[in-house]
């Protein structure tokens, strides 16, 4: 449905310097899927989205929606944003304060190339307002809407043209935490029901994991990893992805040899010898960094059997209601673990630790990524 190939976009920064915002970005979004660009601020995700929208003019690359080429540096095509017919929801919602709810949603139907009859516009606007549950507020001034309602109106305005592609730029970031969670479900339901192909930009990893069919994690203008939410979370390709998506413990180690199970390696690490899954094939003696999620470090007051089991002492703990964060020392190395609040071992006492080898990912040490 959407194909982005070799997209490079630059812009001139505050001090006249050239900023390479997106470099060699390529991905594909199949019909009806929700694709997320995830990354920290300045990683190029918004620039990529705006390049698809036509609000930025890329330096090179190609963007194809359906079978229409909307940008291609080689073929000299640049369709201006107002001719692309894509729907977009902006971070600020960009609801026009001088119009009513109805006028806001009707605008795309009034200004386009083909003029629709008034009655037709009315029917379609009311239909889309019903979809976002704003149909009984059609005559209100847009400024009277709450944050969540404005967000839904922005969505209605983007959907009213029935665009082939919906672009969402951090649409939930201006809502408070409770509302954000509700809108997340709402958005997911709507996208799945309408089956509209969507590109979603966010810096919030939990939003990305919750909504997406697939995720591209971006950093420094490039895509670091492309995959399903589960792949990105459980099999990070590198330290950046492991660190940015969720929280993790990085533990240094050296490969001591391949395990009997294919894809697994034996590693001598700061917490002791352990068995871990290797992302790439590793050689003996190679330096690695292990990424272990806090929830994958299982704590127990009874001695555990099997692989990757250790003894530890409680260093510190933080009660957070739904769970409890333990800082435990294994062989002199402190790691963070997330446990059920029923575990009440006091600070300084002994605990037993087990780490599932499947959840313990060995990454090639890049050196540049600072951890701890």
């Amino acid at each position: 449905m959407l194909t982005v190939t070799g997209l490079c976009t630059e812009y001139v920064g505050e001090h006249g310097q050239t900023i390479r915002a997106a470099q060699e970005v390529s991905f594909e979004v199949p019909q009806g899927k929700l694709f997320t660009l995830l990354g920290p601020s300045g990683c190029g995700k918004t620039t990529t989205l705006r390049s698809i929208a036509g609000l930025e003019r890329p330096r090179s690359g190609e963007i194809v929606v359906g079978d229409a080429v909307i940008f291609s540096s080689v073929r000299g095509v640049f369709v201006p944003p107002n001719r692309r017919g894509l729907g977009m929801v902006f971070q600020s919602y960009a609801i026009w304060p001088h119009m009513t709810v109805f006028d806001n949603a009707a605008f795309p139907l009034q200004v386009g190339k083909k003029r629709l009859p008034r009655q037709e516009i009315r029917t379609r606007v009311l239909r889309v307002l019903k979809v976002v549950a704003l149909d009984d507020m059609a005559d209100r001034e847009a400024t009277q809407l709450s944050g969540g309602q404005q967000q839904r109106l922005a969505l209605a305005r983007a959907l009213v043209m029935e665009p082939p592609l919906l672009l969402l730029d951090e649409p939930l970031s201006n809502l408070d935490a409770k509302l954000r969670e509700r809108m997340r479900f709402e958005l997911k339901r709507l996208q799945r029901e309408l089956g509209i192909t969507t590109v979603y930009v966010t810096h919030d990893q939990s939003e990305a994991l919750a909504l997406s069919h697939s995720i591209a994690v971006m950093n420094g203008g490039r895509i670091e990893q492309l995959g399903s939410p589960r792949e990105v979370y459980e099999r990070p390709r590198n330290q950046f992805v492991a660190d940015f998506v969720g929280s993790t413990n990085f533990v240094r180690g050296t490969v001591s040899g391949a395990d009997a199970v294919p894809g697994f390696y034996r590693i001598a690490s700061e917490v002791g010898n352990l068995k871990a899954r290797g992302v790439d094939s590793l050689k003996s003696g190679e330096e690695v960094v292990l990424s272990i999620r806090p929830e994958d470090i299982e704590l127990s007051e009874r001695r555990q059997d099997g692989e990757n089991t250790y003894e530890a002492t409680v260093d510190q703990k933080v009660f957070l209601g739904e769970f409890i964060d333990f800082q435990v020392k294994i062989g002199g190395r402190s790691v963070q673990s997330r446990a059920h609040p029923s575990l009440r071992t006091p600070v300084g006492e002994r605990l037993y630790v087990r780490i599932d080898p499947d959840k313990c990912v060995a990454l090639k040490a890049s050196g540049e990524w600072a951890y701890e």
Binding site: Y11, V12, E14, I19, A21, S41, G42, T46, T47, R50, A53, G54, L55, E56, R57, S73, G76, V77, F78, P80, P81, N82, R83, R84, G85, L86, G87, M88, F90, Q91, S92, Y93, A94, W96, P97, H98, F107, P108, V111, G112, K113, A154, R157, A158, M161, L167
Partner: protein, 579 residues
């Protein structure tokens, strides 16, 4: 985050660029601005290097104008007079304005809200009427103040002579003091009292707070206000012309007027004076802009609402009320009363029992029957409406380019559109006069030359009003229109202009008012048949028709006052915060 807009430079790789009305609109607005901002200045400079053109002899290149101008002691007297006048006016207006602003913002003087509203009234009174009123009050022979004091003390000494440098400074400073009041009020309001309070909490005493915190913080505002007042004073024409010329005190503005109105008129000499005056104002405006661009460093606004700490004046607050009343008396009541009195007399005479019995409506009848009145009113209205509308629309596009695009050279456009700010009214009048004397497009001697002058002169105001509003329009509001399929023109008409409305309406009203009052450019550009109201007043003064002038003045002030009231009403309806 990336900053760019939907209009990058014209498509480098979009071979078939269909004609877009966008480029026509932008092109016309840019061309108009550049033409208005640059051409008159160029002609003025050019003219100052040439001899006067006569039927017999063509103009020749010469440095003679400058030699004559700078070689004569007369110019240095002019220079000294101008500086003296402008500095005196700036300081006196500043002291008055700051005292009032401080009392209004930082003390518990009673009836403050009322005084704030009242002190804005003088902004409505045109300079020429204010000056005439003060002649009737302070002239050594017929001035009411002198007569009253003479009667009180039983002497015939002259207490106050408005025809002097002191008198000129006094009248001009009074006239500009509301402006100082407004600027300093803003400065006092912008200062977060927490900054002073935290100094107190750190153990500083009152003197240390004032010298280490308050003064350094308000210093930029003080300096900027003084500069603005200085530039305004050195540009002012009415006061030096009416009060200075009769007793031979000449400053640059009045000297330019004399040089042009002499026979044969010495345009070259006037131009070299004008260039000097222009240099002075440019320096002033330059420092002002440097100061405001450094403004961020001194930004004392925290964005959160705070209530300034107020000083309890105790019994002194009645003195403060008295000061307010005296000020209001000097600046509104007395000038208006003396015009009102004179407007009911057949011949001007000082108030007395007999004079009261001779009161008549005749001046009003004479003025209303004046053959030029209907035409001047019509011309003034046409010019005010036309130039306000054109300026606000053109500057909205200019301002969009400057604020919203990344087009190279947009800062230059901004500066060109602001350039007329440094033109004193009379210098602009002179440049435009010269330009259209040489440019045979049939503008000279018509009302259109006035329209061009007004548009040029007030362009920077329009730009400023529009910029304030434009900066508040989030980029995404127009991007979302583009994503909805709207073209640039549609977006501008349906999104940008409605969102600019507060600034557009406020600027439109302001430009209306200042164009109706305009005198110093018009004085060199009008010709019989296209007088405007302020010129009519000037002519009545020249003819010595004081009572008719007063009648016209009273009606003019009342009409302007009503106009401002209507504007205020419209303002509140459209939700304008800024007046």
């Amino acid at each position: 985050m990336p900053t760019t807009t939907l209009t990058r430079a014209p498509a480098a790789f979009a071979p078939r660029l269909a004609f877009d009305p966008k480029w026509l609109i932008i092109g016309v607005c840019v061309a108009v601005t550049v033409y208005l901002g640059i051409v008159p200045l160029g002609f003025l400079l050019w003219q100052s290097f040439f001899t006067p053109q006569t039927a017999a002899k063509a103009a020749q290149f010469t440095l003679g104008n400058y030699q004559r101008a700078y070689g004569s002691a007369e110019t240095w007297v002019l220079f000294w007079n101008s500086i003296q006048f402008a500095t005196g006016t700036a300081i006196l207006a500043f002291v008055l304005g700051t005292l009032l602003a401080w009392m209004n913002e930082r003390t518990n003087t009673p009836f403050k809200a009322l005084f704030f509203a009242l002190s804005l009234i003088p902004l409505v009174i045109p300079g020429i009427l204010f000056t005439v009123a003060w002649i009737l009050l302070g002239s050594p022979k017929i001035g009411l103040i002198n007569l009253a004091l003479q009667r009180l003390f039983g002497t015939d000494a002259v207490f106050f002579n408005v025809y002097s440098m002191g008198g000129m400074i006094w009248v001009d400073a009074l006239h500009y003091s509301p402006m100082a009041f407004l600027l300093m009020t803003a400065a006092f309001r912008a200062m977060d009292p927490a900054l002073e309070e935290s100094a107190v909490m750190s153990g500083a005493n009152v003197w240390q707070v004032v010298s280490k915190v308050t003064l350094p913080l308000v210093w930029p505002a003080v300096f900027a206000t003084l500069l603005i007042l200085f530039v305004r004073a050195i540009e002012s024409f009415e006061v030096p012309a009416l009060l200075g010329l009769p007793v031979g005190i000449r400053v640059f503005t009045s000297a330019i007027y004399q040089a042009v109105h002499r026979y044969p008129s010495q345009v070259g000499l006037a131009s070299s004076y004008a260039v000097t005056l222009l240099l002075l104002t440019t320096v002033g405006v330059y420092f002002q802009s440097v100061l405001s661009s450094r403004g961020n460093k001194y930004a004392t606004m925290t964005g959160k609402g705070f209530r300034p700490r107020q000083i309890d004046l105790g019994p002194w607050r009645y003195l403060a009320v008295a000061v307010f009343l005296l000020y209001f008396l000097l600046i509104v009541v007395l000038p208006f009363a003396v015009l009102l009195w004179s407007s009911f007399q057949k011949f001007y005479s000082v108030p007395s029992m007999e004079a009261i019995q001779r009161m008549t409506l005749e001046p009003y009848r004479t003025v209303l029957d004046h053959p030029g009145l209907a035409r001047s009113v019509w011309n003034s209205l046409l010019l005010a409406l036309g130039c306000a509308t054109i300026i606000m629309l053109v500057t909205s596009v200019i301002c969009w380019i400057v604020v919203k695009t990344k087009l190279p050279g947009r800062w230059l456009l901004d500066n060109i559109a602001s350039l007329p700010m440094v033109f004193p009214g009379i210098v602009l009048g002179l440049s435009i006069m010269i330009l259209y004397l040489y440019l045979p497009i049939g503008v000279y001697g018509t009302i259109w030359i006035l329209m061009i002058a007004y548009i040029t002169r007030f362009l920077p105001y329009g730009l400023r009003y529009n910029t304030t509003s434009m900066l508040q329009i989030h980029r995404e509001l127009e991007e979302s229109a583009a994503m909805s399929g709207a073209s640039w023109a549609t977006t501008f008409r349906r999104i940008i202009l409605p969102l600019l409305k507060p600034g557009l309406v406020a600027g439109w009203i302001y430009i209306m008012i200042v164009s109706i009052r305009e005198l110093s450019s018009s004085i060199l550009l009008y010709s019989p048949g296209n007088e405007v109201l302020s010129i009519l007043i000037w002519e009545l003064w020249e003819n010595g028709q004081y009572v008719e002038l007063s009648a016209l003045g009273v009606m003019f002030i009342v009409a302007l006052f009503v106009l401002v009231m209507i504007a205020q009403w419209i303002g509140t309806r459209f939700g304008i915060k800024e007046g």
